[in-house]
Amino acid sequence: MSTLLQVPLPTEEKTYIDKVVAERLGRPGALLGILEAAQERNRHKYLPLEMLRYIAIKTETPLSRIYSVATFYSLFNLQAQGENTICICRGTACHTRGSRNLLQGARLDLGLGLEDGEADGNEADKLLLTTPDQKFTVRTVACFGQCAMAPVVEVNHRICGHATERTVQREIATIRAGE
């Protein structure tokens, strides 16, 4: 029991997780659902390490296993996310349709600079940048499975196909105007 008490989480968070775990445990793929629910509830849409630790204890999953699952799927974030997420596909189809320009455009529009990530050619993996005011997060995925509509950009979980730099600019402007 002592390990449980050591996890510094607010009681209501613990109660919520306890409920979700009780509902799902034993079903196939339970861990994924539990992690997703925990992330959805988090204000910054991410899974803090204490949360992972608590879920690990509650589900009797080894810590390394839970960390492995949470880092394998690009759905899960281990860092705090901005209020709005712009997710740009860097898969092959979208790449050939110019998604690099979309990514660079979005980064410039949001004042995120172009320094990191680009140079080492790693941006197809998990690039994740958040503006200092926590309003926007720009991230990449390696294919949405919507290649026919390439290049694809996802704005707050809404898919925009055949996107251009103008589309991205307009989306950002709309979100800014709406605040």
């Binding site: 630790r53 080894p62 390394s64 960390y67 492995s68 394998f72």
Partner: protein, 237 residues
């Protein structure tokens, strides 16, 4: 209940094997050699290294012997120019992925990857080296982890989870970024679930996990300690 017997052919020889066995198990039981890197007796096979590829007649694609269950009437070929080529490529890909600099490795001369490369006559590689910049974890009082030598066979992960029951290790991330991690990316020395039993070190085929205090060529692994334990625990091999 007695296992159902199946008849299969391995390299033309008729063999009777038990239902549920993998091709590798059936081959081993009958004294046939199939090269392996990630498979280890008594641990769940994962098919990570692709060195054990075999041909099954009537099917075009190759099958990893360690994870493919046998089927009645199956005819398996364990050696052919095509297989040698594919196995070679698998080993070459492992070699280019990290920094396998044998000359300065504690496991030089006692490394399964090195032996495999020698067995396939690999002295050059067809692909460009990756030269990733990877870290070393020396935080454990008795052991070291060198990501530069890791081939991600996950033998350490499985031996720790399945034999020791501690599950200190697992894989994080995907693809080229995949790494072995202890607990939640903790330093190994800080991992509270680690019992310092050293099974992962003995199970590691390369110099990625080693005991401290050894110089180049001095880390001789004792895989026997792991396999003896498997037998003693009555794990089906």
């Amino acid at each position: 209940m007695a296992q159902k017997k199946l008849s299969i052919r391995i390299d033309g020889q008729l063999i009777s094997a038990e239902e549920g066995q993998t091709i590798l198990q059936a081959a081993k039981a009958n004294g046939k050699y199939i090269p392996t890197l990630c498979a280890l007796d008594g641990l769940t096979p994962v098919g990570a290294c692709r060195v054990c590829l075999v041909e099954v007649s009537g099917v075009d694609r190759l099958f990893p012997a360690c994870t493919t269950p046998i089927q009645d009437g199956m005819s398996v070929t364990t050696n052919s120019p095509r297989l040698t080529r594919y196995r070679r490529i698998s080993v070459e890909l492992l070699l280019i992925e990290r920094n396998h600099v044998c000359a300065v490795c504690v496991s030089n001369g006692h490394c399964e990857l090195q032996s495999m490369a020698t067995a396939f006559g690999i002295n050059t590689v067809e692909f460009a080296y990756n030269y990733p910049k990877l870290s070393l974890d020396t935080s454990h009082p008795r052991f070291v982890l060198d990501h530069n030598r890791c081939i991600l066979c996950t033998r350490c992960v499985r031996v720790c989870a399945e034999l020791e029951g501690a599950h200190v290790w697992d894989l994080t991330s995907r693809g080229i970024h995949a790494r072995i991690v202890s607990e939640m990316n903790e330093k190994w020395g800080q991992a509270t679930s680690c019992t310092s039993c050293g099974k992962c070190v003995q199970a590691c085929p390369t110099g990625a996990l080693a005991e401290k205090g050894w110089a180049v060529e001095e880390m001789v692994k004792n895989l026997g300690t792991v396999t003896t334990l498997v037998h003693r625990r009555g794990v089906e091999v």
